[in-house]
């Protein structure tokens, strides 16, 4: 597996910009593992967090090609920096009889929140980094996942600690 890189891209918040970014990836054969986009505090700017993988030369190309887009304001490879990363999943698990308690115990250990309950299911909200989500989902799979939706990664640089 080639190393994952989490890249932050600030773009002008105008129509068509996202397709320029995704088109760049598909057109040049770069892969995108996940993508999150939303407005920043400045409504004229959107921030994209994308996760990709590739060797050093490919990542360098990805960053340069992103910078080359006219609507791109700034590109930062957060993987090069000290940063915090979070993903979120909403997952509905079969939980009947004795497994109800077990599912809740897992939720508790991993600090998941129960966001919906029915007599035979729980829906949990899981947040954490990529590895944590993989771990929790791995455990929950044993109980039977009925439905799952995952966000892409969000990431932010850590502040300097004096």
């Amino acid at each position: 597996m080639e190393p994952r890189h989490t890249i932050s891209v600030w773009v002008e918040n105008i129509p068509g910009v996202l397709s320029r970014v995704t088109g760049l990836f598909s057109g040049r054969g770069f892969n995108i593992e996940s993508l999150c986009v939303a407005e920043t505090m400045d409504p004229e700017v959107s921030r994209i967090t994308l996760v990709t993988s590739g060797d050093e030369q490919i990542i360098e190309q990805i960053i340069k090609q992103l910078r080359k887009l006219i609507n791109t304001i700034r590109v930062v490879d957060l993987s090069e920096l000290d940063h915090v990363e979070r993903e979120m999943a909403l997952v509905t698990i079969k939980a009947e009889d004795k497994s109800r308690a077990e599912v809740l115990r897992i939720a508790d250990i991993f600090r998941c929140r129960v966001v919906d309950v029915s007599p035979s299911t729980y829906t949990l909200e899981i947040t954490g980094n990529h590895e944590k989500l993989e771990a929790v989902l791995g455990l929950l799979k044993l109980h039977g996942i009925l439905d799952v939706v995952r966000s892409g990664a969000l990431a932010i640089q850590r502040s300097k600690k004096e």
């Binding site: 129509p15 068509g16 397709s19 190309q61 340069k64 090609q65 006219i70």
Partner: protein
Amino acid sequence: MTKKMTGAQIFMECLKREGVKHIFGYPGGVVLDIYDELTRQPDIHHILVRHEQAAAHAADGYARASGKVGVALVTSGPGATNTVTGIASAYMDSIPIVVFTGQVPTALIGNDAFQEVDIVGITRPCTKHNYLVKDINRLAYTIHEAFHIARSGRPGPVLVDLPKDVIQASTVPKFPEEIKIKSYNPTYHANPRQVKRALEMILSAKKPVLYTGGGIILSNAAEELTEFARALQIPVTSTLMGLGGFPGDDPRWMGMLGMHGTYCANMAVANADVLIAVGARFDDRVTGKLSEFAPHAKIVHIDIDPSSISKNVVVDVPIVGDCRDALTQLNELLKDKPHRDMTTVWGQWLDTVEDWEKKHPLTYTWSDTTIKPQYVVEKLWELTKGEAYITTEVGQNQMWAAQFYKFKYPRRLMTSGGLGAMGYGFPAAMGVQMAKPDAIVIDIAGDGSIQMNIQEMITVVENNLPVKVAILNNSFLGMVRQWQQLFYERRYSATPMVAPDFVKLAEAYGAVGLMATRPEEVEPVIKEALNTPRPVIMDFRVEPEECVMPMVPAGKATTEMLLA
């Protein structure tokens, strides 16, 4: 200005402010208002092409010859899609053109309206940037920005999509004087420290080679390059796109490199210990098998586009900046710092290069009975004293033009290098002739390619553009046939090409048609064409199975070339 203007009027005013004098176009429903406005614009000359692809190529040829931005104007739907090949070709070769496409009214966009296509979506990957103008109050600014982006940094095509209602609306326009795009700031000035490092590396080389590309032409750096190369006596080779950036008659000129490059140029690059790449992008047609390209060389790479650097080949001294700026700095450094006479330091290397040149010069086997295509190009060169503006089609004709027309000046060769679009040369020649009305403009063509945009014959006749077309008529899609000949045991699948009677065709269009079937007829035909102040087609019936040599088979190292 506080007067209300329509979108069409604003459009025209913007063109004038950008210094546009010529546009290549084709009308249709959604651009009727622009065409109507054109009747009131004596300063803007519109050339009505016969196919929108030709409008884009003509704008491209115009841009290359003049150094200005070329402009095309077409209608929505099929008009817009017809330009795509021309846009893609300009994109691959970094040519500044602005293409205006009409679009259905904004209220209809997305409804599959008559002649609606998402041309912004279609051309997103083959434009430097593109726009859909939805608000008339953005029109003037967008057009200004489009020209700015097309011509600045690494140039390229920009498309502006204009919905009919925006063209018809009116407003009191504000014409921007300056452009400031916070997200777009090309680096022109090369980092002086990097330039110094590069020079040190070059001066400590034993076997230096300059490998130059289209960036020299685009940044108008031919003089600076020539000064630098001559000051140090470094052997120079260039890509197809860079031809004319260094004089083809200079003793240090080695010829083009790559797939159909000279033996000398490819050997020199393969043996170089320092390779100075200027405005070139290590394209696969140049490098051959990548792992064996310049295997012993430290590489200096000067390019305005950071994404070109270390894309295919890892570079030792990257320099982001305008080629001309970087070369000027190098020349200044050389002036300040007396250096040894490098011909003595590099004497042995220069001798070796000369030996390679003598061992396998560009050549061909003469025939008394059939015309050799190379001979035609040689004669064109001789009879125009190497001063003509040459466009080419794609295939063997293109390579022979590149090999045997020894370009002395920049902006004299227009060819679809990156895309390799057959049908480019003739409309491009039309564009060149518009930009250079008094120059000799010759499209060196193939019998296949010329048929891809032959309809423009009537455009050149109508506009009194005395473009000359020299068809190297081998009755084949020659370059494809060459591969079949060499690598597919001569199974000529779909490459024998039946062509019309080009002489009669020329006459039917109201142009002049000339034909040569024997070597001794070549010179008189060219002379007659050059003395005819009208469009001329020269049909040279050449040796059908001639191959372009040398040739590096695809995927092979550039030293493994076939020589004959």
